[in-house]
Amino acid sequence: MTCACLADTCPAPQGTRARVGKVSTARAERLVNLVLALLSTRQYLTAERIRGIVPGYADAATDEAFSRMFERDKTELRELGIPLETGRNSVFDSVEGYRIARRDYELGEIDLAPDEAAAVALAVRLWDSPELTGQAQGALVKLRAAGVEVDENPSTLVEPRVHTEPAFAPLLAAVQRGQVVRFDYRRSDSPERRSRTLEPWGVVSWKGRWYVVGHDRDRAAPRCFRLSRIIGAVKAVGKPGAVTRPPDVNLLEFVAGTTPHDPSPAATARLWVAEGRAAGVRRHARVVGRMTVGADDGDVVEIDLFYPESAADWIAGHGPDVVVLEPDVLAKAVQDRLEAVVHGEHG
């Protein structure tokens, strides 16, 4: 048999195309042929039959070598997400065979408008993790193969990035499999590492941070954990399908409820700010007068406070450049902080 291709630039040397039981076949070639054979059959093909027809398996000298080879190939196909079905053609068959159902194998029809394709191209570049970027690229290859035109470098004025944590992938996998997880967790205010056992309901991104929400078995209550505070590996425990998410739970609200909403000012404060100092305070303040404190000139300003507690931290940070005039409670809070610094350092 000779090459059927008539072009001068045919990549294969003439006459070498057909397989005449010669040199060993490249593994990738054997796998492609296996996929094509299993896609084209409606009957289940037994391992023995596959050994007889698919080029490459004849290279296995013994039954045992073939069996090893075939097992490894099946594993690889399954890892790629190829739906390998097993079954018997009739009740009289003694061994199971294999086939691939075309409708389970093939990507559904998809057609993206140019602006949709541009969004996809951008999304592929969003992850800051090589692993997730690789997965997204894999999806892109398949979309292209489905005929979608995606320009790799869409021009964009804004470049967002999605940051992930090492715990992200194992938690997502556990959520999708409905599997209980165990991990070590450290709250930000405590050195204590605690092992937590969680029935995970979902992974949530809120304002650029990742959380996992679920039923905390140790507390016997729903809880939310920040992924960046998980230490070490996330271990899946127990069987897949063991977790059911309550139907009425709103994951986003669960997380958003534990983080502050867009605030409205809680109070107004009057401060004295030294001449030309504390730019960080001045930019949020309205100058309402002048005043001398000791021998130093400065402005009297008014400022809206959103979080009085953190305002005290922030004002104390400016040291002698900012003095609280009112309210007294804020003045006292700042004074406490400054005194703690002085005493803490002396004691």
């Binding site: 796998l31 492609v32 094509l36 969004a119 997965q135 967002p160 999605v162 205010d189």
Partner: protein
Amino acid sequence: MSGSTERLPRLLALVPYLLARPGIKIEQAAHDFDVSARQLRKDLELLWMCGLPGYGPGDLIDLSFDGDTVSVTYDAGMNRPLRLTGGEASALVIALKALAETPGVVDTDAVHRAIAKIEAAAGDARPSGVVVGHAVREREATARTRETVRAALQAGRALHLRYYTASKDQVTERTVDPMRLLIVQANSYLEAWCRRAQAVRMFRLDRIDRLEVLDEPARPPADARPTDVSDGVFTPDESYPDAELVLDPDTRWVAEYYPCEELAELDGGRLRVRMRYGDESWMVRLVLGLGGGVRVEKPAQLAQAVRQRAADALARARHLPVTLPQ
């Protein structure tokens, strides 16, 4: 053998890809699959040896080459790509959801349409269990700033800024040549060539107090390089001084918020960290604001500066009743 795990998905996608694009240039296909043209030719050679049982000329995948282009003339039944895996569908759809929650990048309507189509095509692989909420933390004023910056980028114009530099606690006026807008960990930044600093700088949008789009064009120098933000926006310089701090349980969040090296867990839930800082006055403000919840162990000069500022502040506050108006 590890090569085949990368190669097989490409081989399976290649035939349908070529079917959809008869007469495509081999160079272009290689580019789309992110491999060399040489590798792509090897892939085509391999596919050309594959086909259906029987493996006669009419059973094998057939390709026709014309100059530097290629077409599939027989696909041996491989006319659609393999469906998306759960991992692929998740990686793509979650990124799209994040994009939809990030204002001002692309038309979010297009993103939602793309998500719906990909989920429909993904079938069982459609990702579940992931929710993406607001991808930025910002107030209305910052959203307005972003729109102005975007307009300047689009029109290729320089910007005049009034900018607050938190590290120095200074407000400065500067003219910059915008390069790009970035959203990193929910904060928006303008990366631009700063004519004042003669360097590429990142400007956090919520610290831009005023801005004006200028008539003159943006002209960042040709050698102005974008910053690598894969490790965050602020990467402490090796040359910066470092401080050793002991954080109380109440102030341990500092280690999470700023780039720190954790040195030791101490009794009482305290944590010793090493932290680099670019500007001493910034470090003094941070430590003072933590109000005794942190102890500066090194350097002595920083500890002294913090103590002095606290004492001065208390002294000044004591002057108040005398000079208070009314």
